[in-house]
Amino acid sequence: MTHIAKKTVDSSRIREILDGKKARMKTCLQACAACSLCADSCFMFNGKDGDPQYMPSYKVIKTLGRLYRKRGNVSRAELERMQQLLWRNCVLCGRCYCPFGIDIPNMIAFARGILRSQGIYGVFPHTSGSTEAELQ
């Protein structure tokens, strides 16, 4: 389901992109108190019976947070798992609410950009929020 142009991961390119917004993104990640109050603002979280994987904060922490923590040294498989969170689990509708005012959609968009730099994109069935099994 993924358009894979490159099979390897260019960690230095990921690091370069991460460093471009390091101060801002790290400030936002650090401001997250992991309170989970953003969950209810996501229609996908509500539509999936409260599956934590659809929580806005979960999507950010497990993708962008992980990329910063590992300084871009991630495997291709990890990036593909992130693809699920960033495209299948999020339609980037921009309705996330954070009590601390963290701009979650912006962080998800930034993380998507990093994945695109590695040739990983979202494709239509995933953006509809359905898994492959559900579509068949």
Partner: protein
């Protein structure tokens, strides 16, 4: 050891805390810029008087807004968080024992609350902390995003209160407990600007100054890049 922790180490910690908070605030300003808000002018043809909004419509709008708010959806979490944070700040500042030490050091004597009230605030912090901890462990959506750091931050915030409570009631070995209390307080002060506890700076800056739908202030700033 205790004298060292409540003396020079405390002043260094307090200085690190104040300087760190100033640094974080300046950093937030540097990461953002003033937002240029375009002046909106309607064409003369469309510039008709606004439709009168009835009181009933206004009331319904307020009800809808409130029902969509976090306060309505999670009243217990909001109430517990509010009590936790208010007591977390008020208890150490308004405690007689702390203010006496500040006065003895030649600083201004701050207003204090009776000991029983400070004790009540300490118990409130401890009870709220237990609630937040149980919520973090038991609720799958909170557990899913919790890292060891989140537990450490909670422990860091609670330790000065737990040790203070034990010291005030003379439980366990007083000297050890009071030394731990001073150490926990100093650690919290140092950690405040540089760890997740720093969400206190981010909260006020973001919710009061950053432009956006949920801005509670003027919202005249936006991210620089």
């Amino acid at each position: 050891m205790y004298d060292l922790l409540r003396g020079p180490v405390f002043w260094v910690s307090a200085a690190v805390c104040v300087c760190g908070l100033i640094f974080r605030t300046i950093q937030m300003f540097r990461l953002t810029r003033a937002k240029i808000i375009p002046e909106c002018r309607l064409s003369p043809a469309r510039n008709t008087p606004a439709r009168q909004v009835s009181d009933e419509e206004r009331r319904l709008d307020m009800v809808a807004r409130f029902r969509n708010s976090v306060i309505w959806r999670h009243p217990v979490v909001v109430a517990v968080s509010a009590v936790f944070h208010v007591c977390l700040f008020a208890a150490p500042i308004l405690l007689v024992a702390h203010n006496m030490m500040i006065a003895q050091a030649g600083w201004v004597a701050l207003p204090s609350v009776p000991d029983w009230f400070a004790d009540l605030m300490t118990i409130a912090v401890l009870v709220c902390a237990v609630f937040l901890l149980v919520r973090r462990i038991a609720l799958p959506k909170v557990a899913a995003i919790s890292s060891p750091v989140d537990y450490c931050v909670l422990l860091l915030a609670v330790m000065p209160f737990l040790t203070g409570f034990l010291a005030y009631h003379q439980l366990f070995d007083y000297k050890t407990v009071i030394t731990l209390h001073a150490l926990a307080g100093d650690l919290l002060l140092i950690a405040l600007p540089f760890t997740k506890v720093g969400h206190m700076v981010f909260f006020f800056f973001s919710r009061l100054t950053m432009a956006g739908e949920f801005c509670m202030g003027r919202g005249r700033r936006t991210w620089a890049a």
